[in-house]
Assembly symmetry: none
Homo-oligomer: 414 residues x 2
């Protein structure tokens, strides 16, 4: 069973809005075991929407078309579908009623053109879910309705209800597919994409040949390098068992390069480690300038572990607040003193600290990308030097995940 | 001149990554006056990438293909382009050299498969910009190279340099377009999208009728609400003059709701204000947890103004480090004490401070979205209460831009 996605809207092509709908629908299709081989964005133009739908119906069994169901003259998805189905539009009295009722319930005047949303191609079925004024449509196409177009609005929460409630179940019924597809995402830090590929080459080849599961990887910056295992089985439990065995295999092969087997961020993992050990955490940041703190505090519940940060951007703040000894601040000694200072000033059991050069200019004769990262665990500080690639923002991001990873490794070992 | 975009990567179809690259490229094409009528996502599959490129080349004069230039076996964009061009791949010694040098500079071992990135279709030109190990390619197609494929990596900062530096200028040269299209983006804070639309309605109607320029707006969260003016003229100078007149008109209509007429972020504007007044800046953050510091320090050159931050996430850090009086910490008094404490502890002339409730749970009986924002200018602290909508991350982001805007307004008035 193949299903394509066509996202309609000139604002998508112009980049005024990022098309997150297709990504979300793509996820749901993948999880339901339905192949999605192409996704297309097209503007609010009759001929081009028509061409996109014809092409998608040639290549696939089904198409989800998203957007262009609003009340304005720009919204022509209904009209195009009627042409593709070779039928007329007819006003649906039940939908008309629902739209009128919705406006009344909100105490708002209904502009007449809103009733365009009740115009439905003959032979199309209205989806049960209708959280807004745009009905979702199931539109059979061709002899015996062998293929199908699903039309859903571009408003994400309306679209999501319809795709989850009608589109996916209808596709599964049509496919007769009883297999269940499940995924697990692992995250790693400490090896490049190609380095990991080299380490995993024999396993990957063997896995592909066996057909037990598939493995894909993706470098994701501050989120780490993600590995995604996907398995198909007769039941969810069976698929989960297959995945658990492959995860165990990857853990043997990669050891503590893996920081999460459940798609958690590095900061979530470190917060969990601290929580389970009853440790409080603080940070002292120079080159990362608050990024580590910001990532940690983005996580709900971080307040029971995380004390705070001293962002010591100016050199005197390192000396005066954190107690760094006067001298070079891009150094292991400075990083260690910052980590100790963070624990002392902020009253924490453990800490991380980063100092270094994010650019654009070098500092203290050190080139851009020179980083000293330190951790402090119960009064014992240790620093490590890193050489990071990329521009200012990448250096800040890599420093953040790298220093948290150092603390993670120390906490595992302690 | 028509240019399509083909984004390559199975992870895009599966929704593991949202395709923001196509949106960004679409924006750049629109600004350059180049039509983009279709954008396609396709997986890492030879036949389907080939089909997508052929179709795009039929419909358009040029194609930007984004992604699939990495070093792994999945990365086959180079191979597909060679087939479409009907040429062979050949290893480019200069690119090979640059890749080896990049690895050496970082002191890292280069896996042999990285050299696949030096394989280039015969007749393709290497783009000058090469911030990573993947070269961008300009690939003429068909008799006399009448059409063209631009291949750029999927890493956004690499892609952006190549599209801005090579693709757009090359397309403009090919189009023979002599009219110049220029844009100015203004940013506002303090009015909703619909409020702004109401304020601008008569001006907007008059502008549209005159055809002097076009105006579009886009709510952009922590970046503010953006207004974009676009004008077409015989020369860049002439277009810039038109835009300058419209910007002056918008400044009269919107006053200090406009915080930048040059598409600067709020934090860049505040840093500039401090710099020009010879003031140093500090922050004290509770609910924003380092986000303000992180945004300020993301800007190169912030170190000559910005001293640092005390992220006082734990209540005791507010008391012990910042000198907040014992009592409720979601209050105007606490926010003012934090702002004063930031100036004192970090040795700064001015500061901002934020305390409040980002959720998920309420705090001190105050509902989620309750924020106290304070500014301190030369020893004089003042607090304002805000009620912000949305989830945890939106509350953190809106708090950040809102408190910086308060400081901006005080500095203008002072």
């Amino acid at each position: 069973m193949r299903c394509e996605i066509v996202a309609v809207g000139t604002e998508l092509l112009l980049g005024q809005i990022v098309d997150t709908n297709s990504s979300w629908i793509g996820q749901q299709l993948a999880l339901a075991g339905i192949d999605c081989l192409f996704q297309t964005k097209v503007g609010d133009n009759f001929g081009r929407i028509e061409a996109a739908l014809h092409l998608a119906l040639e290549r696939a069994d089904a198409v989800v078309v998203c957007g262009g169901l609003g009340p304005t003259q720009d919204d022509i998805t209904r009209d195009v579908i009627a042409t593709v189905m070779e039928v007329e539009l007819a006003r649906d009295p039940e939908v008309e009623d629902r739209i009128r009722t919705m406006f009344e319930a909100r105490g708002r005047h209904m502009p007449e053109n809103n009733l365009r949303q009740a115009d439905v191609p003959a032979g199309a079925r209205i989806m049960d879910q209708m959280p807004g004024t745009a009905p979702g449509l199931v539109c059979p196409v061709g002899p015996d309705g062998a293929k199908v177009i699903y039309a859903v609005p571009g408003v994400p929460y309306e679209m999501e209800q319809m795709v989850g409630g009608t589109v996916i179940p209808d596709l599964q019924r049509r496919s007769g597919e009883t297999a269940v597809i499940r995924s697990r995402t692992l995250r790693t830090w400490g090896q490049s994409e190609s380095g990991l590929a080299e380490m995993l080459a024999p396993y990957h080849d063997e896995l592909e040949q066996s057909g037990r599961a598939t493995l894909a990887w993706l470098a994701s910056g501050i989120e780490g390098l993600k590995l995604r295992l996907t398995a198909k089985a007769a039941s969810a439990d069976e698929a989960d068992d297959v995945l658990a065995r492959e995860v165990a295999m990857l853990e043997r092969l990669l050891g503590d390069l893996i920081f999460s087997t459940r798609d958690q961020s590095m900061e979530a993992v470190v917060l969990d480690q601290c929580r389970s050990r009853g440790l409080t955490l603080a940070t002292a940041e120079s080159v990362t300038g608050g990024l580590i703190a910001s990532r940690l505090t983005a996580i709900p519940g971080s307040s029971d572990v995380y004390r705070g940060s001293v962002v010591s951007y100016a050199t005197e703040v390192k000396f005066d607040v954190l107690g760094v000894a006067h001298g070079p601040v891009v150094s292991g000694e400075a990083a260690e003193a910052m980590a100790l200072g963070a624990c002392r000033v902020l009253g924490a059991d453990v800490s991380v600290a980063v100092t270094g050069v994010a650019g654009p200019a070098e500092l203290e004769g050190q080139p851009v990308g020179t980083i000293w990262a330190a951790t402090c665990v119960k009064g014992d500080a240790a620093a490590t030097s890193l050489r990071l690639p990329g521009d200012r923002e990448r250096i800040r991001q890599f420093s953040t995940i790298a220093v948290l990873n150092l603390l993670r490794q120390r906490l595992i070992a302690s």
